[in-house]
């Protein structure tokens, strides 16, 4: 059964230096608030996992907390580069960043294998590309029935997965809806699961396109309204496309980035203060 606790407590208890963490979310429902809490608590030497490392991963990397990144597409969606990510890879600033990269389908299927209790999953893809040479977690195997060659990807099982959902009930059951990406598999493949939510409700009503996670599949549920900003929680908050564009200039320069992080993340106590600190500064 999930415990209901503060995100400060959840991060303190369940995120451990040197471990792997997946903060998943595919454009929608990105758990930025929990990510900021990891930064505030200065967790370090993390292996981060995510199909689409975006702004919050750029921040974690730029703050020097990340040792290794396992990913499939690292950009600012619709805008361009993640400058802190590039700086780490191109100039080892603020530290070297080890990479393991996949395709979306490949990393998605690594989570599927993890969620399914399997050591690997089969798929097409990888063959004919240079990606096979840069990871030991993809291979080519033969179909035992037809002899056809298919790709195999190794299961991934994060030490901790963090996702954001619209609702939890008081028992810690969770429902998310809209674009739910790879969140169910990220949660099911993990050893420990944190879910931050917009709202705690008395009773969860099933929604279209929803993922329901029973309380017993989660360790801690934390109420963090607005915790996806500048991403969004469908039917609760709006995506701030302007902030995504603005991040390009904030993150391009090391000093501007550090100052911004200092002002808006390190000097704020929580998501509420973080969001308040942006008033008048961004859209």
């Amino acid at each position: 059964m999930a415990e209901i606790a503060s995100v400060q407590e959840a991060v303190q208890t369940l995120i451990t230096d040197h471990e792997s963490v997946a903060l998943e979310g595919f454009t929608h429902l990105i758990p930025q608030g929990a990510g900021h809490e990891i930064i505030r608590q200065g967790k370090k030497d993390l292996t981060l996992i995510r199909l689409t490392p975006d702004l919050i991963y750029d921040q974690l990397i730029g703050m020097g907390l990340v040792k290794k990144l396992i990913f499939s597409w690292g950009g600012n969606p619709g805008v361009g580069s993640l400058h802190r990510f590039r700086d780490a890879v191109e100039h080892q600033w603020p530290r070297e960043l080890e990479l393991e990269e996949h395709t979306h389908a490949g990393l998605a299927n690594r989570y599927v294998a993890g969620a399914s209790g399997l050591p690997f999953m089969v798929m097409k893809g990888y063959r004919g590309t240079d990606l096979l040479r840069n990871t030991k977690n993809a291979a080519v195997i033969d179909c035992p029935f037809t002899g056809e060659k298919v790709a195999a990807v190794a299961a991934i099982n994060p030490d901790t997965t963090i996702i954001h959902a619209q609702q939890a009930d008081r028992k810690g059951n969770v429902q998310l809806w809209g674009i739910t990406g790879i969140q169910k598999e990220a949660a099911f493949s993990a050893k420990k699961v944190i879910v931050t939510v917009e709202e705690v409700v008395d009773k969860i009503e099933p929604r279209p396109h929803a993922v329901f996670l029973p309380s017993f599949t989660i360790d801690v549920v934390c109420k963090v309204p607005g915790g996806t900003y500048p991403s969004y929680a469908l039917d609760y908050t709006k995506r701030d496309n302007q902030f995504y564009k603005k991040w390009d200039s904030i993150s391009r320069d090391r000093n501007t980035f550090m100052n911004w992080m200092e002002r808006h993340v390190l000097q704020t106590k929580n998501t509420e203060e973080f969001l308040r600190s942006l008033e008048g500064v961004v859209t």
């Binding site: 097409k124 893809g125 590309t129 709006k238």
Partner: protein
């Protein structure tokens, strides 16, 4: 006739390639603009699929990301990521995939991973995303890339997405589901793979563009078709609708 930019021409030419009723796996940026333009013009029944899992989306404004609320709210359905990749793309339910990249070679292989060496890159690009699977599994692939000498290169630094590999039958040897890129739409003209060798060949030019302008922006000796055609310039309704979409 209205004035237009090479970028607008490129997007409109891309939109024209989509026949009505097809299912199209749409990336953000130019592909999304082209696919939605087509949907508003001659292809109202086309099914747009974004890799976020939104199927049959009908956005009014062009989305910034593949997961904007507009896409979720106007879709016929939304499915989780493993399903979009495994059941839809890999399961052969995508007619057309749109791709771009930082580099392309003469056999339409694409690089969106690194410029330079993998371990010590000059430019670290975003990486593969959904492109490799689109490239190998969509029934047909349309590539959109503005011509630039540093993008159209003799040898790409990393094969992120397979085109025709070393040409000829080297792609079909791998048994991919999809038949590969059928067209490369640039801002000056159109390249298509030679039916046999699979080498990209200039087949169409945009109005007023010379063959030499294309060659100047390509890093290998370009093959040129016998009868290079001139593409019809943007019609007013195409331009108006595109500008409307971009403004919304």
């Amino acid at each position: 006739m209205m004035d237009y930019t090479p970028d607008e021409m490129m997007t409109i030419v891309a939109a024209r390639q989509l026949t009505d009723g097809v299912s199209c796996f749409v990336g953000i940026g130019l592909p999304s603009a082209a696919a939605n333009l087509a949907r508003h013009l001659h292809a109202p029944e086309s099914i747009l699929i974004y890799e976020s899992g939104t199927i049959g989306t009908k956005p009014v404004a062009l989305p910034l990301s593949i997961g904007d609320e507009e896409l979720a709210e106007t879709s016929d359905t939304i499915v989780p990521l493993p399903e979009i990749f495994n059941y839809w793309l890999q399961g052969n339910r995508v007619d057309i995939g749109f791709l771009g990249g930082a580099q392309i070679d003469r056999f339409a292989n694409l690089n969106s991973t690194v410029i330079g060496t993998y371990d010590n890159p000059n430019v670290r690009l975003p990486g593969a995303g959904g492109a490799p699977e689109i490239a190998s599994m969509a029934k047909e692939v349309f590539i959109i890339m503005p011509l630039k000498k540093r993008a159209f290169v003799e040898k790409i630094d990393f094969i992120t997405s397979a085109g025709f590999l070393e040409g000829s039958h080297s792609r079909t040897d791998l048994g991919f589901n999809g038949s590969g890129p059928s067209i490369v739409i640039t801002d000056l003209g159109i390249l298509r793979p030679d039916p046999e060798s699979k080498e990209l060949t200039l087949t169409e030019l945009y109005p007023g563009v010379k063959e030499e302008q294309v060659q100047e922006n390509i890093g290998w000796k370009l093959k040129i078709a016998k009868n290079v055609q001139v593409v019809e310039p943007p019609r007013d309704e195409e331009l108006q609708k595109l500008r409307e979409l971009k403004k919304a």
